[in-house]
Symmetry: C2
Subunit: 402 residues, 2 copies
Amino acid sequence: MHKLWFALLALSPAFSSAQSAEESFPAASNVPGSVSPAIHRDGRVTFTLKAPQASSLQVAGGDGLGHGPFALIKGIDGTWSVTIAPPVPGFHYYWFVLDGAPVNDPGSRTYFGYSKETSGIEIPEAGADFYALRNVPHGQVREQWYLAATTSQWRRALVYTPPGYDEHPAKRYPVLILQHGMGEDETGWTRQGKAQFILDNLIAAGKARPMIVVMDRGYAGAPGAPPFALTANTTLGDIQRAFGRFSDVVIHDLIPTIDASYRTIADREHRALAGLSMGGMQTLFIASHHLDSFAYIASLSGPIIRGTDPGEQFAASLRGPFDTKTAYDGLFADPAKFNREVKLLWLGVGSEEAQLHASISDAAAALRDSGIRVAFFESPGTAHEWQTWRRDLNDIAPRLFR
Amino acid sequence: MHKLWFALLALSPAFSSAQSAEESFPAASNVPGSVSPAIHRDGRVTFTLKAPQASSLQVAGGDGLGHGPFALIKGIDGTWSVTIAPPVPGFHYYWFVLDGAPVNDPGSRTYFGYSKETSGIEIPEAGADFYALRNVPHGQVREQWYLAATTSQWRRALVYTPPGYDEHPAKRYPVLILQHGMGEDETGWTRQGKAQFILDNLIAAGKARPMIVVMDRGYAGAPGAPPFALTANTTLGDIQRAFGRFSDVVIHDLIPTIDASYRTIADREHRALAGLSMGGMQTLFIASHHLDSFAYIASLSGPIIRGTDPGEQFAASLRGPFDTKTAYDGLFADPAKFNREVKLLWLGVGSEEAQLHASISDAAAALRDSGIRVAFFESPGTAHEWQTWRRDLNDIAPRLFR
């Protein structure tokens, strides 16, 4: 619907392509002083790059930017440009393809995604200020270094402490562990997701309880190893091994570090685990073995595993009916016990995430039919992208620690 | 000398170009999993990029990388590569020039420099572990948002709190305000400079007093305005106006915010101001009007202004003899008073910063001759680059608040 509305605006005479320069503004994700990418008042976006010697230039990007790649046209001074139809509001990764090579836009800040530093564009959403930097008390985001015994490696977590944390040195807080997706890292939730501002705004409005939010790097490979990534040959067992090692880091290194370094309420009733995409898979995987550590669980656009055979290809393990008795090592096998122990099971997905939407909503229905209490949230008009996950967090945080 | 030593190694048979693949390792500044750039045991560096359709590719970079740009050679599979002579140890910005357009290396993390996200390479220095992540207690680096009345803008400072800060809620700490150079931002001192690890290591060794370090963005332009940058027409008056506005932010917004948000010792005897390059200029400029706010002053590779006429071109204002009576609005005119009030005046420069080295050492000599107590530090073998400034901080921090 959003796309349609923008498309209609773009077709109307009042929003024709004859926009003046004053009718556009630099994206908030640009480096200071860069006028490109420029967002027009009607939502269209113009990308510009000076490359006089280049033979071809396209812009391409993640879900929500549109059906690219889009070819830029070379001007007489060697500056290429293209104006594209209004993208979906929110944050989108993008990159240039310069004579065939994918490269960043020097006009943009970079954001860690696709396992590298990637350009990103912030498209404003009219009326949505829940993730804006507003004039409310602000928490802090802190770099927390710790030596993980599991991997014998120094790791860095980012830790959000709520407003007032330093002013009330006797007060203790519940903890949300919040994980990123594949190819991203511990910076994703604050840089792309604006989790700190979502929490600031919810806490200021009295809608969420002040809490500590811990964002770690969801990989735990050997020193120097590339981060975990899916291939066509990845089996369910490969996933379980990779997630198992990360689970060990969370349970044996991260949680003890956070409980020792911050004024937490260090019990399962005051600890939540959530993650997006791969992080959502990790959440259900970790919860299935460590329900003694978490009473709140949320999977945001997380693929739901149906299979139980470690030798099965991962892609195949996502297909078929969801058997609530056998899935996730029997996590959901006893609904009465699960409902007693788990204060919140939350599943969410964007309306435009075609297969994931079917898979997650089907699993949620099966869980509900089996007697499991489950919250299901759908982000309207968004796909596998950060605007979905920002809305998710805005829905989840008020439900925690109540 | 360093360069010569490396050059000799490179010429010796034991370090010939016939190195095996095992003889190289990915730079610590690479994105995880990227093997390029690769550093050879002899210090040479190989840059690689796959770009089958490109017609030309060079790598170029900041001081210390070498006398580039260096042309890459295209292999049969479309992968370009070049191996360059050992760069100076430390951190160097670099970028590819792909068919004439400067772009980042997708294999590298990015670092804010040259007013944009720029690739960087970390070249290890044998025996230098003062900026390494070591097994010592670590402080935290915190994002501190504040609304600056001077500019009516939200600003973000990064604040290092020393190890033990949270564990001792009654203890108060002195404050070092530490500024980046032109084209950089508040992230420079921690990402490129590793200031947090330098402080952690000094504090662990008992060489520096535990202190809070505040790193802000050294620009205070109107909302949306590009950050301050020098041009051929910039006058001394232009500089004074830009720095004056930033000075207002520091004095009227930043310091009150830090004193209200952290357990500082909020007097001039426990507050230091330091900066590199442009930040060094800002330090002397701000100190010349606000000696009531700082008792410790350090300018790291900061151009020394000789002129006093606001209409004079900035470049010209750097030339000529340094008149200790008139420079910086008379900051140094009364040596006895200055020495009474200022606990540390510190000037430093890299031995390879040709004009700056002459200018800064000349000013230091003139100050000393006039009776001003001044510490002068020279970083051997390094130019206008982060290895110089890491060494500077390692020299300065132990002298503060004693």
